[in-house]
Amino acid sequence: MKTLPAVDVAIIGGGWVGLLMAKELGQRTSLSVVVLERGGVRTPDEYLIDMDEVDYAVHRRMMQDFAKEPFTIRHSAKDRAYPLRQLGNFLPGDGLGGSGEHWSGLTKRFLPHTFEIYSKYIERYGAKKLPEDHSLQDWGITYRELESFYTRAEELIGVSGEAGNIQGKLNENGNVFEGPRSTQFPTPANKVNYFASLFRDATKAMGYHPYANPSALISTPYTNPDHVTRPACTYCGFCTGYGCMIGAKAQPTNLLLPVIQKHKNVSIRTGAWVRRISHDGESNGRVRGVTYVDASGEEVFQPAQLVFLASFILNNPRLLLLSGIGEPYDPNTGKGTVGRNFTHQVLAHNLVTVFLDKPLNRFMSNGAGGISIDDFDADNLDHTNLDFMGGFILRANNDTGLPISSFGVLPASIKSRWGAEWKKAGIEHYDQTTTVAFIGEHLAYKGNYLDLDPTYKDANGDPVLRMTIDWRDNEREMVKFATAKALDVVHQMGITNFTPYQGLHRYEGTRYQSTQIRGGTIMGTTPETSVVNTYLQHWQFSNLFILGGSTMPHGASIGPTLTMLSQTLRTADAVVGRYLKHPGPLV
């Protein structure tokens, strides 16, 4: 094994949070920083030729190669696990920028309730109202503490939206349920397509509070505080699952990379697949650096004073487990923290499929855009007489109607799946079909967790990560309730031909849901129930910080990216302002 000269900082993973930390350290310190990215280089230029549904949506060209590293999955600790042999329920990105290159750009703050879910529930409903085997806990920080970092992250991206609550002053055109904001969004809201406009009118007439989704696909040209300028979104329709050909979608490679490249103290090594974080045991309290395999297959040890673990959500807990850092979570005893509180979102796709009698021009679209209502999210509705806890959002997306994935979604009256009748109906309904979509908050449960698989190995011979996850009746009841509410909206829109979701059964590994999985190395206020403190610093190894969605104690309904970026900025401030002066625990 080759040992390289020591650096001050090693960052594992060149996605959103890894590159954001690299940018902050590059701008604000003279530390030597190396980013270790196992995938290849990505440049904005290549996105002009990615507008191809076969290679990018069917074959998922931008995503992690499951031939080299899959995950395994089972429904409970009693079952045997099977490999997810091909990408399905979530899509980790591959290469520089990670999943931040192909994301949909939904850039919403979490509602304040999210961060204090446990204590707020106890206060309002008492402990008996929570599902029996839940493992909910407060996050250890509040919305108020994070607000200024949310503002900075929004200014970095240039998020498009309309504020619903500026310092307590409500605006009915924005989301009146959002936490108080210090300022307006940097750019105005995205335009919406026809169906989203129908959804907005209907929900408004019903007394709900529709708002345009906050979006990282900016509505007007914007120059951020780092002097990075991006153009406006053109609604080309090749968005989620694709890189943006003009850079209107905020992506790590168009937002962070140009700034990083100006700072000579930061270098990025691609093709560097980190296998271990090295340490001399917990008593020492420090990690020594990282070991990786480079593109030529050689093992390399990179000593570092400070390590940021910023890989894909699932690879963060996996690297801790492979490195023997922290105690693996045991669902039987409740002891151990690594792998605990693994969550996804509930469903996150169509709840009611609707068949209209007018063309929708679905090819004009963007990923994040559209209209949502938060009237049922977090604890905005009283759960006292409901059979579930957790909130949900109903939405009409600026739905993309790319033909391979959309053709053949038909009313129940059409029974055939191929042949003349199916073809005729497919042509007729192709541009007149869309959905009322749903995203639900996923509570944390004692039995949903992550550990190393005993059987299957990755291309390096290391055990792959095993996911143990299933839905509970809580989620099934949530979907049932949400379907009824969505049908009310569909009726209000005057739509008579529709197919409601058939109900939630077992957790599926095959159908795409979202890439917004979370947990495994969660943050918190004590080392007994969390892996990192609220500065995302490891409790036992004080020179190890863990960034990203793996630190989130449960699955808020909306996507985690903006919150991940905000927390990373908070960590950067704490590291630059306090840790570098006095290395050691920040809490």
Partner: protein, 230 residues
């Protein structure tokens, strides 16, 4: 694998006129412009005829418009099976292989190439049958992995960018009013509410002015190993 000429088509993209011989021995195109040969990369002649017959029943040519035949779905599938997808380059193929619950997806060992090769044996002679008999034969295998794949690939071949070999002359996109990739709908997305807006379909190459590099033309270690084993 034997490589031989099977199809020929107009190399000029949009505008070629296609006519098929009735006995389905070979697809014949009367190109308005220069013709270009396509050599089968995976299928044998016989297999290609069966796939041609089957996909033409899945997505028939009828009064509702052109179908799999005009879109040249066979070429699309042949190229996919000859490339990384056919060899499972991006699928985890380490043992043990055990049947699992359907929620966790296909757990089998067989690659798409193997599934096709086996599946097509069950459809031997399909190209010689009457349409009714063809439908009956397909009905029998409707619930197999092979048929699920064939149906999925037919849709892909109907509506892919023509650089992949299907959707020839953009017949698929024209059928459903999909315009292909365009740079901008900035002033259109909110100005055609409820009214059909149908820009002229164009290909990725026409839009970008760049030469695309479809995945099926790539290679992976599994393909090199398979070739070495021959």
């Amino acid at each position: 694998m034997r490589r031989r000429e099977f199809l020929s088509w107009s190399a000029s993209g949009v505008g070629g006129l296609l006519i098929y011989s009735t006995d389905l021995k070979a697809f014949v195109s009367l190109a308005q412009h220069g013709a270009q040969a396509y050599r089968l990369r995976f299928f044998t002649d016989e297999e290609a005829r069966i796939v041609g017959a089957a996909t033409a029943r899945i997505f028939p040519t009828d009064e509702a418009g052109p179908g799999a035949k005009e879109a040249d779905v066979v070429t699309y599938i042949d190229r996919q099976l000859a490339g990384p997808y056919g060899y499972d380059c991006r699928r985890y193929t380490e043992p043990p292989f055990e049947d699992g619950p359907p929620e966790f997806g296909y757990q089998g060992k067989e690659s798409p190439r193997e599934i096709y090769r086996d599946g097509l044996k069950q459809l031997a002679g399909l190209d010689q049958m009457s349409p009714n008999d063809q439908d009956a034969a397909l009905k029998k295998i409707e619930n197999t992995i092979f048929f699920t794949m064939l149906r999925k690939h037919t849709i892909e071949g109907m509506f892919c960018d023509p650089m992949h070999g299907g959707n020839r002359n953009l017949v698929g996109w024209q059928l459903i009013g999909f315009p292909g990739p365009h740079m901008s709908y900035y002033s259109d997305i909110d100005t055609h509410y409820g009214v059909a807006f149908r820009p002229k379909p164009i290909t990725l190459q026409q839009m970008s002015g760049l030469k695309p590099n479809p995945m099926e033309d790539g290679k992976c270690a599994k393909m090199h190993r398979a070739e070495g084993n021959k």
